[in-house]
């Protein structure tokens, strides 16, 4: 059974946003959702998160319909991805701490033992995402944009979600940092096997990252976006193949 099943989903605000979306995503896939600004990519992500409801259709994650976000689906937004009042270390350990211990549980010796383990784990993640141990005590506003997104990824992955949903997570970064982050997320995906749904409007990024690229676009003004192309990306995707695929993806978007 596919991990994510989206059946005939439509969303409408003042005008239609998504119309008749049908997508199935298998466990372990790295799917990039590509489309122009305002085509409903982020809406699709929020539907899978459960923070928004479709006007019609069903979304099942692991066979269950979710009505609010929970720890089965990790989330890395473009902005505001870290809690500004917590240090890097506390941001990373926040998830396991709140999900394993309630208010009273936090007063027990078991909490402090577990906290030590979690901190050790957090330092391991810091090393994997390329941050130094001394960065652990910094607050988010003392980090660069790229470092913040690295921490956000570690924060999401430490809770071991079934799916990681990333909403234009690298779009505010400079090209160099962006490339480093693309490599990092590819490596983490290969190491953890987490299913990743990555929303972007950058065709090259989608091809470099995904094992599959889904293009959302409107057929005509006033209509909701549909899946215009569902393209498996050859693994590994060689640099010389990218221009041909970009051509194909951009033609679909341009025609739409």
């Amino acid at each position: 059974m596919p991990l994510i099943q989206i059946h005939d989903v439509s969303v409408r605000y003042t005008s239609p946003v998504l119309s008749g979306i049908d997508i199935e995503i298998e466990e372990g896939e790295f799917v990039c959702v590509l489309g122009q600004t305002g085509c409903g990519k982020s809406t699709l992500l929020r539907l899978i998160l459960g923070s928004e409801k479709p006007a019609s259709g069903r979304i099942l994650v692991d066979g269950i319909e979710h009505h609010q976000p929970d720890r089965t689906r990790g989330y890395v937004p473009q902005k505001y991805s870290l809690f500004p009042d917590k240090t890097v270390l506390d941001n990373i350990t926040f998830g396991p701490e709140v999900s394993e211990f309630n208010l009273f549980g936090r007063c027990t010796p078991r909490f402090y033992r577990r906290r030590r383990e979690l901190r050790a784990q957090a330092f391991d993640y810091l090393r994997r995402i390329g941050l130094r141990a001394e960065d652990a005590r910094k607050y988010p506003d003392q980090l660069s944009g790229g470092m913040q997104q690295r921490v956000a990824i570690a924060q999401a992955l430490i809770t071991r979600p079934q799916i990681l949903l990333m909403d234009e997570a690298f779009s505010a970064l400079d090209p160099g940092t962006r490339r480093d982050m693309q490599q990092l997320i590819r490596d983490l995906w290969q190491a953890t096997g987490t299913t990743i749904l990555f929303v972007t409007h950058n065709t090259r990024e989608a091809l470099r990252l995904g094992t599959r690229v889904i293009v959302l676009a409107r057929e005509s003004a006033g209509q909701g976006s549909r899946v215009m192309l569902d393209l498996p990306v050859p693994e590994p995707c060689h640099e010389h193949e990218i221009p041909r695929l970009i051509d194909r993806l951009e033609t679909v978007q341009a025609v739409a």
């Binding site: 923070s51 720890r71 989330y75 009042d85 998830g95 709140v98 924060q155 999401a156």
Partner: protein, 278 residues
């Protein structure tokens, strides 16, 4: 004329000089007019001289209040000033404690849609009621004891704090709450460990900015129905034209409020080192 430009950069000395100029001008103007009035009428009580004010303040700070004759003379802690400061501070402290439930209510209204729907319209309406117009009703309902004065402050200031906290809560980006849920947080974790912690420094600032309103309502209550307190004393001395004590009392109140404000700013910086005012 570079000093009149937007891009002008006054140096440290200039900034310090400019910031004290109006104080110096105010004090100089007072002394000048006071001297002139005393030359015309040595018995003038409207603008006491510095010597008169020092003498008046010394008496207030070192002599017991008229109704406290068992107290020892010559000690600050038996003095009229100390007794009044203590009474006003006690009421002020109770009022500040009562602002915390207001913060929690604002937080819940901003986060939990049913709480928002239940309270918002009422608080918005309540905010428009002029608290001082309720004074007679409060004195009838709660008597002329402490409760009426504290209630006056609560009614006057809490709607502002509730609405401010509500707006601050609504201002926390949705990404933060969604993210917290995806990390396994429950509703109350999101409310108290994510949102409250993020808005806390701004709420503290909001309370700081409302300190003057708190004191205003407190003074109104004390002036009308009280037997002690700084405002009671000022009202009492007004009847005897005791400007030599009223003016130092007013300055004393301003100093106390300045110290509370400064203390709250330090506390905010200490509790929230991550917070930088934009």
């Amino acid at each position: 004329m570079s000093f009149a430009l937007i891009h002008a950069k006054p140096g440290r000395t200039w900034s310090t000089l400019l910031s004290w100029t109006l104080f110096a001008a105010g004090i100089a103007a007072y002394f000048y007019v006071s001297q002139a009035r005393h030359r015309a009428n040595p018995e003038d009580r409207v603008m006491p001289t510095v010597t008169q004010m020092v003498r008046g303040m010394y008496a207030a700070a070192m002599q017991p209040a008229e109704d406290d004759e068992q107290q020892v003379s010559g000690k600050f802690f038996s003095s009229m000033l100390w007794k009044d400061t203590k009474a006003t501070s006690r009421r002020f402290f109770y009022s500040m404690i009562l602002l915390f439930p207001a913060v929690l209510l604002g937080l819940h209204m901003g986060l939990f849609p049913y709480a928002g729907a239940f309270f918002l319209r009422f608080v918005l309406f309540f905010d428009k009621i002029v608290a001082l117009s309720l004074l007679p009703i409060l004195f009838i309902a709660f008597g002329i004891d402490e409760l009426a004065k504290v209630m006056l402050i609560v009614i006057g200031v809490t709607p502002t704090i509730i609405l401010d906290t509500f707006n601050l809560t609504r201002g926390v980006p949705a990404e933060q709450t969604v993210k917290a849920f995806t990390l396994g947080a429950g509703d109350f974790d999101v409310a108290y460990r994510v949102v409250l912690k993020q808005i806390a420094p701004r709420v503290l600032n909001s309370i700081r900015l409302n300190l003057k309103a708190v004191m205003l309502f407190l003074f109104a209550g004390e002036m009308i129905a009280s037997t002690d307190g700084l405002a009671y004393r000022i009202a009492l001395l007004r009847r005897h034209m005791g400007m030599d004590v009223i003016i130092p009392y007013v300055l004393w109140v301003a100093l106390l409020l300045f110290l509370v404000d400064y203390g709250m700013r330090l506390l905010n910086r200490m509790l929230h080192p991550w917070f930088r005012e934009s």
